[in-house]
């Protein structure tokens, strides 16, 4: 007899050693909270979408719009807002649709793929936020530097004229702090994404290799 046949035979005998739960014990379990990864992904994704949405609204108070007018960017900002809201709603819609598709009664590969797609939607959203933040920050920095001075009353011009080196330092500082901020953000997302999906990604790869 082959070793695996012996194993198979013994496997059947193992059934006698398995725990036996009663009707009531099972009944109690029905009302426990799931700790499934899908639940976590859902909660975290909603928090992310909310966080960025709320941050956007909070930052755009009256003061903010006045400043935009000063640096001649009001129209630009309105455009950016409309665009970014449209894109955000599109992402939320996609997220919801993908989330709805997740079903534990699918085969393993489909289930994994749907979870990864759902999470990817949020990842792309965050990517969009980071890139658009970087771009708009640069535009705002540029306009702040070149238009802000015009509205300030200058009493001592020497104070307000920068040498080439000072300009370079300023530009470098802006780019540097922007890079640090975005880098930290990116790290933070890698962390959440890594912790939640490491095992899932690995299993999906293990399952689907040899295919395609």
């Amino acid at each position: 007899m082959d070793e695996l046949d012996i194993l198979k035979k013994d496997w059947k005998q193992q059934e006698a050693t398995l725990p036996k739960l009663s009707y009531n014990e099972i009944y109690k379990m029905l009302w426990k909270k799931s700790s499934s990864i899908v639940r976590w992904i859902f909660i975290i994704s909603i928090l992310e979408l909310l966080f960025w949405g709320v941050l956007n609204i909070l930052l755009s108070d009256g003061e903010f719009w006045k400043r935009m007018e000063i640096i001649h960017l009001k129209e630009f900002t309105v455009g950016v807002y409309i665009l970014s809201y449209a894109i955000t709603f599109y992402f939320i819609y996609r997220f919801y649709r993908n989330y709805k598709k997740i079903s534990s009664t699918d085969d393993a590969a489909t289930l994994m793929k749907n979870i990864l797609t759902t999470r990817k939607t949020v990842k792309y959203y965050v990517g969009f936020i980071i890139i658009s933040t970087a771009l708009t920050s640069l535009v705002y920095a540029y306009f702040t530097i070149f238009h802000h001075a015009a509205t300030t009353e200058v009493t001592d011009p020497a104070k307000y004229s920068f040498s080439i080196t000072q300009w370079l330092v300023l530009t470098a500082a802006i780019i540097f702090s922007l890079a640090i901020f975005l880098g930290l953000l990116w790290l933070f997302y890698r962390l959440i994404y890594g912790i939640l999906l490491k095992r899932l990604n690995k299993n999906y790869k293990d399952l689907k290799n040899l295919e395609e």
Partner: protein, 164 residues
């Protein structure tokens, strides 16, 4: 109506609970984790139950949801290893039935199964449950060819462990 559904579900699960326990044995290493995973499987089955319309057998449907829970949905809790759980979790052999060599082989194979990755464990489990390749490929969502190749690799792996 809901009470009826609930009763039906619990009766079904009570009858087929072995499927879930066997999966827990393969995927977990201590009693607490076993219970945790069993509970998550129960929750997932219950959540999906309204979609189960009885077009398949409850057991067939249960294999799928329970394995999905173990491989994909379940999030392991971090735990220290508790030595006192060792006996309850590991496979028990009826030593009186086997001669020393076979017993040793079985022990090695069960230990080896625990070392496999999640997908390999699923394959071994479905093999031990005597599922055919069509069922295996449908449960895992891979082609039959892929299932065959993977299965042969796992079998070879297990055999090479006991015959180094």
């Amino acid at each position: 109506m809901d009470k009826e559904l609930e009763h039906q579900f619990i009766t079904n699960l009570e009858r087929h609970q072995n499927i879930a326990h066997k999966i827990c044995r393969i995927y977990t290493n201590d009693q607490d984790s076993h219970n945790d995973l069993f509970q998550e499987i129960t929750i997932q089955l219950w959540k999906a139950y309204p979609k189960f319309r009885g077009e398949a057998k409850f057991s067939t449907w249960m294999y799928r949801v329970a394995l999905n829970t173990a491989i994909t949905l379940y999030r392991k809790k971090k735990r220290g290893i508790k030595t006192q759980d060792f006996d309850t979790v590991h496979f028990k052999l009826k030593t009186e039935e086997y001669d020393g060599e076979v017993e040793e082989q079985l022990k090695l194979m069960y230990a080896a199964i625990k070392e496999l990755n999640d997908i390999e464990k699923a394959l071994v489990f479905l093999y031990l449950e005597e599922k055919n390749y069509r069922e295996i490929s449908e449960t895992l969502g891979i082609t039959e060819v892929n299932a065959r190749v993977k299965m042969n690799r796992v079998k070879t792996k297990l055999k090479s462990i006991i015959n180094p």
